[in-house]
C-alpha cells in the first residue's frame, strides 16, 4: 500500500508537468484501481487440518497462517499430501477434521484453481473458455469485455477466436490462467500448473505468474515439485513431509528475482537437502 503510493507520485507529477492533465488523471485512477486490487488478497488460516483416504492418512494436522497477498509455494516429494492440501483449500475435497478459514465470507468466484492440465473446453473458442471463469457473471453484459481483458493480460488477445486444439501447450495454459484470473479471484491455487511445459515456456510462464500476482495482489498458493521454481516465485516455501509442515522458509530476495543468483541457489540447496534428508529417513 505504502510503496504503491510512493511509486505512483513521480509519474503523476511528471505527467501533469508535461501538460497532460487528463492523462494524468487516468494514470491516477488506474493506480487507485491497482491499489484496491493489491489489498484484494484474502488471508488464510488453517487449524489442525486432517484428511485421509481410506486407511491412508494423507494430512496429519496442518496448522498454517497465510497473510493476505502472500505468494506461498508448497513443495514435497510425491505423495506427501501437497496436492491434497491444495484441493482442500480450493474446496474440491471434504475436510475430515480441522478448519480452513479466509477471515470472511467468500464467494465461489473468490477462489480459483489452476491445474497441471489446462482443462479447456475443446468445443469452445478461446474467448468463451475464458468466459467460463466468470462463474455466475457469465450471462452479464460485460462478460466479453472482461474476458478480452483477461486474455490481453496473458498476451493472447489475438487468439480469441481460435479453437484450443490449435494452441501450443504453453498457450493453452495461458488461456487457463486467463480463465482463472477473469473473475478477479482473491485466492489463486496452482496445482503444478507448469509441470507439463518445456523449460523455456516454463520460465516465461513463471514470469507471467509473478507479474499477474504483483498486478492483482491475490493470495497465491503454488504446489510444485520444482524447488527452483518455488524459490524463484514465492515469498515463503513450505516443505511438507508425511502430512505435516516440516519446514517453513521465508524468501526475502528482492523482486524481480534473477534466476540462478547465488542467494536463490543457496536457498534452493538448503530446501533440497531438507527434502532429501526426509527421503533418507523413510
Amino acid at each position: 500500500m505504502q510503496t504503491a503510493l510512493r511509486t505512483s507520485l513521480p509519474e503523476t507529477e511528471l505527467a501533469s508537468r508535461a501538460g497532460f492533465a487528463p492523462h494524468a488523471r487516468v494514470v491516477r485512477e488506474e493506480r487507485q484501481g491497482e491499489r484496491q486490487a493489491r489489498s484484494s488478497g484474502l488471508p488464510l488460516s488453517i487449524r489442525g487440518l486432517r484428511k485421509s483416504f481410506g486407511s491412508n492418512e494423507v494430512l496429519r494436522g496442518i496448522d498454517l497462517h497465510i497473510p493476505a497477498g502472500q505468494f506461498v509455494a508448497i513443495v514435497g516429494k510425491s505423495g506427501c499430501g501437497k496436492s491434497t492440501l491444495l484441493r482442500l483449500i480450493a474446496g474440491l475435497d471434504k475436510i475430515d477434521a480441522g478448519s480452513i478459514s479466509f477471515g470472511q465470507n467468500t464467494q465461489p468466484e473468490d477462489i480459483r484453481v489452476m491445474f497441471q492440465e489446462p482443462r479447456l473446453l475443446p468445443w469452445a473458442r478461446v474467448l468463451s473458455n475464458v468466459e467460463v471463469g466468470l462463474g455466475r457473471d457469465r450471462a452479464s453484459g460485460d462478460a466479453h469485455t472482461r474476458a478480452e481483458k483477461a486474455l490481453t493480460e496473458v498476451g493472447l488477445a489475438d487468439k480469441r477466436d481460435q479453437w484450443p486444439s490449435v494452441l501450443s501447450g504453453g498457450q493453452k495454459q495461458r488461456v487457463a490462467l486467463a480463465r482463472a484470473l477473469v473473475s478477479r479471484p482473491r485466492v489463486l491455487a496452482f496445482d503444478e500448473p507448469l509441470g507439463a511445459l518445456d523449460a523455456l515456456t516454463r520460465i516465461s510462464m513463471q514470469r507471467l505468474l509473478e507479474r499477474v500476482w504483483r498486478d492483482q495482489g491475490f493470495t497465491a498458493i503454488l504446489v510444485t515439485h520444482d524447488v527452483a521454481e518455488a524459490v524463484a516465485l514465492a515469498d515463503r516455501v513450505l516443505v511438507i513431509d508425511e502430512g505435516r509442515i516440516a519446514h517453513d522458509v521465508t524468501i526475502n530476495a528482492a523482486r524481480p528475482r534473477e534466476r540462478g543468483s547465488a542467494e536463490l541457489a543457496s536457498l534452493e540447496g538448503s530446501i533440497l537437502s531438507n527434502l532429501l534428508s526426509a527421503e533418507d529417513r523413510t
Binding site: 474440491l92 468466484e109 473446453l121 475443446p122 479453437w163 486444439s165 490449435v166
Partner: protein, 268 residues
C-alpha cells in the same frame, strides 16, 4: 515435419472442385464397363439390363409418377421411423448416462432386447400391425434405437471427468454443465451412432417393404420381380444406394457443422 509438409502441400494446391469429383470416378467407370458389357452381349439382359435400359425404365416410372410416389413413401417411413427410434434412444442414452438409478433400472432390460435381431420380429409385427404403416415405422424405430442409445450412453460416460470437475469449480449449474460440457463432449460419439443408425434404417426398411407392403421402393422392386421387369428391380437397388449415400452425406455435413472444433474435422 517434412513428411507432413509433403503430404499437405499438394492438397492445398489442388482445386477443391476436382477433389469433389474424384470420389465419383470409380462408380462412373463401373457403370461405363457395365454398359459396354451389356451392349456387346457379354452380359445377357435377362441377367442384368444395360444401365441405359435401367435409366429408361426410371424415366418411364418418373413420367407415370410412380417412382416419385414410391420414393417419397419410403423416404417418409425412413425419416419418421428414424425420428421416433432416434429420439427414444437418445432420451434413454441421456437418462442412463446421467443417472445411475435410471441406468440400473433399464440398462439390463435394454441390453437383453438389443440381442434379439429386430428383423426376427417381422412375423410378430405383421400379426400386431398387419402390413400397415405402423409396422414399418415400428421396425425402423426399433432398429435405429440401439445404435443411438448405445453411442449416446457411451459418449456421455466418456466425457473427460476433469472437464466436468472444472465446470463444477467454475460454478456451472447442472443445466449449464450439460449444455456446455457433457453434451458437446458426447456429440462425436452420438454422430457415430447416427451414422450406424442410418445404415440400419435403410436395411430395415428394405426388408420390411419387400416382405409386407403395398407401396414404397421395396414394394416396387417386388412387384417388378413378379412381372419379370428386371430393369425396375435394378433401378430400385440403385436408388437405395443413392438414398443411402444421401443420408450419409447429410450426417457428414451436420458433423462438420457441429464438430468444427474437433481436430479431425478442421480444414487444412
Amino acid at each position: 515435419m517434412s513428411l507432413i509438409d509433403s503430404i499437405s502441400l499438394p492438397r492445398r494446391l489442388r482445386l477443391p472442385r476436382v477433389d469433389g469429383l474424384i470420389q465419383w470416378i470409380v462408380p462412373l467407370t463401373i457403370i461405363a464397363i457395365w454398359q459396354v458389357a451389356s451392349v456387346t452381349g457379354f452380359v445377357p439382359s435377362r441377367v442384368l439390363p444395360a444401365p441405359s435400359d435401367v435409366l429408361l425404365a426410371g424415366w418411364k416410372l418418373l413420367v407415370s409418377g410412380e417412382l416419385v410416389r414410391n420414393i417419397w413413401v419410403s423416404f417418409w417411413r425412413a425419416s419418421i421411423g428414424f425420428l421416433i427410434g432416434g429420439s427414444i434412444g437418445f432420451a434413454f442414452g441421456l437418462a442412463n448416462g446421467l443417472s445411475q438409478l435410471s441406468a440400473k433400472l433399464t440398462d439390463t432390460t435394454l441390453q437383453m432386447v438389443r440381442n434379439v435381431p429386430h428383423l426376427a420380429l417381422i412375423p410378430l409385427v405383421i400379426l400386431w400391425f398387419g402390413i400397415d404403416e405402423s409396422a414399418k415405422l415400428f421396425l425402423v424405430a426399433l432398429g435405429v434405437f440401439f445404435p443411438i442409445y448405445l453411442n449416446t450412453l457411451h459418449g456421455i460416460r466418456t466425457v473427460d471427468p476433469q472437464l466436468i470437475e472444472m465446470g463444477r469449480i467454475y460454478g456451472m449449474t447442472d443445466g449449464e454443465l450439460f449444455h456446455r460440457v457433457i453434451f458437446p463432449g458426447a456429440l462425436p460419439s452420438i454422430f457415430v451412432g447416427i451414422r450406424f443408425a442410418l445404415g440400419i434404417m435403410w436395411l430395415t426398411l428394405i426388408v420390411a417393404e419387400t416382405i409386407a407392403a403395398s407401396s414404397g421402393l421395396g414394394y416396387m422392386a417386388m412387384q417388378a420381380r413378379e412381372f419379370m421387369l428386371i430393369d425396375v428391380v435394378v433401378l430400385s437397388i440403385l436408388i437405395y444406394a443413392l438414398l443411402g449415400k444421401l443420408a450419409d452425406s447429410a450426417s457428414r455435413v451436420l458433423e462438420r457443422a457441429t464438430l468444427s472444433w474437433h481436430p479431425a474435422f478442421q480444414k487444412r
